[in-house]
Symmetry: C2
Subunit: 834 residues, 2 copies
């Protein structure tokens, strides 16, 4: 199977050692700022038989002895086939930043996105000719796309719920019926094998068709919205696998959620809509292909991820806030409004669909499903004396959340090692987790003793059918198994049972403790498998169990019932693990439909987040770091104030002249991976060397393809614009850049000249080389740049010193250049809390 | 009464004509980029007897004929005493931007705020010596301040409600009792005179003590959060007047709200807390004086305004979102969290206080008051056939909202003209509005016919006491006056009546129409008087009447009751006038405590905002423009792409050398109003002229005060730092800058030198002069700058071309420089909707 992902990577080593070392150093500094080369068993290079060579930005490579090239070549390509994470574990001076990162479950080359408006002469020309009709079309299509995203995501969310409830429902009904007939062994075999089958299918499609669909996808989408582009995260293939895989994985009783995958699905839908369909699958719509730049796509993806949460939890306002607080790196008031519109569409469509289901036309769905957790608002009252218990719950919840993050981090590191051994290992791991889960879910309820059905139960006891508070399991008639009511159920139903009021006597202390512990560990071990898995629902269910347990321990003389404690427990674990505030608060409010709880939920979230922040980062940041996604934080690290831009910028640079030879351009484009080149005018075009601007690789490729060449170095006239349309310069489909190798040029053409002036961005952002790194980062991040030109302080030299890119700001890069910099923990705290 | 506000302004003309014209032009370009000078009755200057001279950035003043100076001086000072708005109306080529703006109801000089981190040697020194204890203290105090802000604002909000309910309540009880005794004339006299007295008091304290407290304050706070500082908006005096004046104005039955003043109050509390108390009133706390810079204050003020809305509407999440969507120009995730914490404190404290009131210890408050509008969640159901009526309501609501904005704009323009005639006129205007309001409120109910009390009314009919749906007014026993139930009541109670369910037959069509029309006009005419007045509640009550009227007209066969229509009507008018989305949605949800309404409210808000946006800007932006506050929008206007930075930047510049003579500094500081000066090193300090950095006026003043002078131009050693503490360089109290005139220097000292290097910000942001204006604006706005240095493209000249400040980006400034630029409405639309 040919995939974009990995191709350019494996081609790299050949380039590396074929070209001369100077070019190599130059090339590496941009395509892969620092890669570790390992030469093992080279006694003449180091006493310990092993020596790590750190290659980054233009540090000269030591001249290799003759005959070493081929060895190094092989070694290097092997290194490149290994995930970065593995390298990291083996070496102390390691790096997580590079232009290769783990996306889903595979290593992929990543690039930055171009958010900057390219102000070249051509762009200005285009802007002037843009008429009122064009502008209306643009606005209309933007809003139409948001509408369509809303409709499609809500339909997908509905389908997702419908499918899960029905597949898992049938499974539970069949096994329950066997249990009723006391065929316990057969029931277990049916239960375990159907789970195994579903998990196997899910991991198979994920591993084979779209490894990018593995995991929740939230870290990838978050990185995308921060400006990191990985090839296939928003492909049609990924979308299909994400939907199908998520349905299968959740139906297979794995302790995984559907909210994360829904966010990725929403983002996928938005990105595909934004590029007017999927070319590969022939599903394109010319009419929709107006939004051909990274800025508009970023906005759409933000709206898509808001729609995802809105559809998963039926929480439209919560979805907008989630996208705002957790996902988006850049946010405008106009975007808030569009995201709100999108989630409003989701809310309205879902309401309509639920009306259909309430009429009973959705199979097993409708009884459980979307209308999630009604903590009905029968006048809740709470007083000051309830607060200490809630505080305790919040503090411990915060602690548990940070332990959860720690554990998940460790488990994912181990899993990544297993995953790199091959597809077979990945699938075996998933199957192993599935079997273990089945054993636990079926085995643990046997520990619990049967409990007598309460006489005043609000629903039939024991439950006949699927959802309900009282599962019979192995118990005699008139009795129920409280642990089975939680384990032998979908997560949604388990949450509903835990949140339900008037059931304070339903569960036993030990059952709740067993359920909490099992969920806690199962969810950490289930997340990393090669299947679309979410974290939200597992954390909610674990937190609910924890909260209810606390409620049982402290709560006999309090006003709060155990259901409310479960809600607060969920909030505390979510706060301790995901560290959101307003969005979680609103999501929980919209889930439980009870505004009176607001002050308590706010209190719990604030405390648990504070406690969690003392120990580690939020779970999505941890996963992003683990995956090596170069996320650009909004604030500068303290030590960056001690460095100037000149301290981290690396040369030499590839510079083009205003009128450049075609051959030079082709050579540079073929031998480097740079995406932006400064254009400098030199005498006779100007009196002294002047920085004219910055030209993008993609624009150069377009220029070469159009072959607007001249025999002599002549400036191009206005007629040049007639040969180009605005479409030529728009961003192409996601992950499908024009390649320089696709263009064929004759020897004669290589000797000709091309005028770069009209296509050069004449207003690139610049910083003086003595600018502090911290302030340059603020500029880079706030404005959303890909290239930041560094100009010299003293004139007379070249008018440009270097280019700063995302990787130059990465902590690891800076620390490698300046290893003695202090990383004072408390100073970073100040930033975090300020 | 001596006030900061206006002082520096009246001093200006003397400077203007005393100094030579070159210095003048230079000075004006920064202190007041363009002021209109009017020379009336100067026949030799223009045929029409009047000629406007536009002074801005270094356009040369025409040489005035001898003897003109003194005339111009007088004329000029008179012009300066007039509000900008008035000047505007008289001249076609007018400007709203200048460093003078209407704050509250008075003209004030305004300045920009310094958000940039000043990275000079001293700052770096200070950062290195900052220990863990300091950092913890900083974090602790930040959070403590948020906690205190939350507590104080909620107490003030509670006090506000308590006072209003009791004062207005007593008034209504007394007059109602007289009505019962059928003493109608006496009742009217008591009603009208008490209203007049309250209004008079309110406008008196506002006009005499703190004109900054007039109006809602939201535009001023919004401008502050955008970086515009006006002297007294956050003074202790303003705070007191705002609280007292708002209570009096709302109690006096004027159709004004308390939410806007609460936002200003919250912001005031935050700002005063942030500077550690009020020096003027001797209420300072050394311990809290850690946050001495504009960034930290901005954050606190954001939290304060969130707390204000939270306290006014008991809507903690809505408060955070309001601050985020409407108020703040810069937002970080960390700030979201702190604002959330502040409003959580407000929610918890308010809950405790309400518990107290429910026990009946708050006088007349508690029955009405805080627990606002319970649209109790008795299972609302609505279906597809209800949607057309809602759509209609939303569209008309949007139209009405934009008409409301238009009308308010016109009324405020007229009011501003009246207000400038003197304090007496202002107070008379307020009294006139009060008398008119009393007449309408008392007179109009007589039109309505008495209605028979329903037999199944859920409360006593007619109402005995204050709040309730059925007011007796002039009717016989057993009857009630539906119009009096709305008019003869506080706004809060009127809203509660309109929102109430099960009262579909209570009101007559004509009554509702009369009430709507009256409220619509009364609220526009009441807002502009010299008293603390809000817009939120009047718009809600007007919208509720409108919605209920629509509900009456269409709704007999719909599922939605009239109370719900009233809620939706409020949403539509709010959306059409204030143009917020998510925050309004959440505020309405928190007000009505009903999540089931969510999809409908979202729909209504989206449509009404869209309809409104077609016609005009949102109400706060209109008021800000009217006041001449230089608000920096987040996006660039299309025509800015056609200009370079060089096209708008204005020289000549005041530049200091790295080691500068004291006399020069004093002269420049005295003769200009600049706040930042480039520092340039020239030979022999460097080989060629080099831009060393930017030094602030406040730092120069500190340097001069400390008198670290040398007889010869010597670089200063490290020991210089010992003479200064970090406190010397922090921002002083709001509106109390160190003045250069306070420093006394001897002749000898004036001849000495001072080394500016250690105190110069060595990392100022720079743009090349060929950078497009649009991109420079993005940088300026996103990073939050006060000064942006423009450097030349070709070296050899001076290393700095000019400084861009906020005013250089203002639409009017740019258009004055380049009058032919297109202002294509649709292109601006594209920005607005994209």
């Amino acid at each position: 199977m040919k995939r974009v992902c990995g191709e350019s990577l494996s081609a790299l080593p050949h380039v590396l050692f074929a070209a001369n070392l100077d070019v190599l150093a130059n090339c590496l500094s941009f395509t892969a700022p620092y890669l570790l080369l390992q030469f093992s068993d080279c006694p003449f290079l180091g006493g310990n038989g092993c020596f790590s060579l750190l290659l980054y930005g233009h540090m000269m490579l030591p001249a290799l002895p003759n005959g070493m090239e081929s060895v190094a070549d092989e070694e290097f390509s092997e290194v490149l086939r290994e995930p970065l994470l593995l390298l990291q574990d083996q070496r102390s001076r390691s790096n997580t930043t590079s232009q290769v990162a783990i996306v889903g479950s595979d290593l992929c080359p990543i690039e930055s996105l171009d958010y900057e408006i390219i102000e070249n002469d051509f762009f200005k020309q285009d802007w002037r000719t843009m008429g009122t009709v064009d502008i209306f079309q643009y606005i209309f299509i933007k809003w139409t796309l948001c509408f369509l995203i809303g409709v499609i995501v809500s339909l997908l969310g509905f389908l997702n719920n419908l499918a899960i409830e029905n597949i898992a429902g049938v499974k539970f009904v069949i096994t329950s019926n066997m249990m009723l007939a006391r065929k316990f062994v057969v029931a277990f075999i049916v239960f375990a094998s159907s789970n195994l089958g579903l998990t196997f299918l899910s991991s198979l499609v994920t591993a084979l068709i779209a490894p990018e669909a593995a995991g929740s996808g939230i870290p990838e989408v978050k990185a995308y919205l921060n400006g990191v582009d990985a090839p296939a995260i928003f492909s049609f293939r990924t979308l299909v696998v994400k939907i199908v895989g998520s349905i299968l994985a959740v139906s297979s009783s794995l302790n995984v959620g559907k909210a994360g995958p829904m966010v990725h699905t929403g983002a996928c839908v938005a990105a595909i809509m934004g590029q007017g369909g999927s070319k590969k699958f022939g599903l394109t719509c010319k009419w929709l292909q107006v939004l051909k730049n990274d800025r508009d796509r970023r906005d759409l993806v933000t709206c898509g991820s808001a729609a995802g949460i809105a559809a998963a939890f039926r929480a439209p306002v919560g979805g907008v806030l989630f996208a705002l607080e957790e996902m988006a790196s850049w946010w405008r008031s106009a975007l808030l409004w569009r995201a709100f519109f999108t989630t409003a569409v989701v809310a309205i469509v879902l309401r309509g669909l639920i009306d259909v289901c309430l009429r009973g036309e959705c199979g097993l769905f409708g009884k459980g499903g979307l209308i999630m957790y009604d903590v009905t608002s029968a006048n809740i009252s709470y007083h000051l004396r309830d607060v200490p218990a809630v505080l305790l719950l919040a503090v411990i919840g915060g602690l548990l959340g940070s332990i959860y993050n720690l554990l998940l981090n460790k488990v994912l590191q181990i899993y990544n090692m297993i995953n790199t051994k091959g597809i077979a290992y990945r699938i075996i791991l998933a199957c192993f987790i599935s079997i273990s889960t089945s054993c636990l879910l079926f085995g643990l309820p046997w520990i619990a003793s049967c409990r007598l059905c309460p006489s005043d139960a609000s629903e039939p006891c024991p439950t006949i059918g699927r959802s309900g508070n009282y599962k019979k399991f192995q118990c005699p008639p008139g009795y129920y198994n409280d642990l089975a009511s939680l384990f032998f159920n979908t997560n949604d139903d388990a949450i509903k049972n835990l949140f339900s009021k008037g059931t304070d006597t339903e569960f036993h202390h030990s059952s709740m403790l067993i359920f909490f512990t099992t969920c806690f560990f199962l969810s950490t071990f289930s997340y990393g498998i090669v299947a679309p898995t979410g974290l939200f629902v597992p954390v909610i269910v674990t937190g609910a169990a924890y909260g209810r347990f606390v409620g049982m321990c402290v709560g006999s003389n309090l006003n709060l019932n155990h259901g409310l404690f479960a809600v607060l427990g969920s909030a505390s674990l979510l706060g301790g693990s995901m560290r959101m505030t307003v969005s979680l608060c609103v999501i929980i409010l919209e889930l439980t439909d009870n505004l009176l709880l607001l002050p308590l939920i706010m209190l719990v979230l604030l405390i648990s987040k504070t406690v969690g922040d003392v120990f580690d980062a939020n779970i999505y940041d941890i996963i992003m770091t683990l995956k090596g996604l170069p996320y650009l934080k909004p604030h500068a690290e303290p030590y960056m104030r001690q460095l100037t831009v000149g301290d981290v910028v690396t040369g030499p640079l590839q510079i083009f002249h205003g009128i450049e030879k075609v051959g030079n351009i082709v050579h540079v484009l073929r031998t480097t991976g740079h995406n932006g080149f400064p254009v400098v005018d030199e005498p006779p075009l100007s009196l002294s060397p002047l920085l004219y601007g910055l030209i993008l690789r993609s624009h150069l490729v377009t220029l070469l393809r159009k072959k607007l060449f001249f025999k002599t170095p002549t400036p191009v006239g206005l007629d040049a614009f007639l040969q180009f349309s605005a479409d030529d310069f728009t961003t192409k489909d996601l992950g499908h850049c024009d390649q320089i190798d696709d263009i064929e040029l004759s020897e004669e053409e290589m000797e000709m000249f091309v005028d770069l002036h009209p296509f050069t961005n004449t207003s690139p952002y610049t910083v003086v080389e003595t600018m502090s790194l911290a302030k340059a980062l603020i500029l880079f991040r706030e404005v959303g740049l890909r290239h930041l030109l560094v100009i010299p302080k003293v004139s007379g030299r070249l008018p440009v010193v270097g280019i700063l890119t995302r990787h130059d700001f990465m902590l690891e890069h800076v620390q490698n250049l300046h290893p003695r910099l202090s990383r004072n923990r408390w100073r970073r705290w100040r930033l975090q809390f300020s």
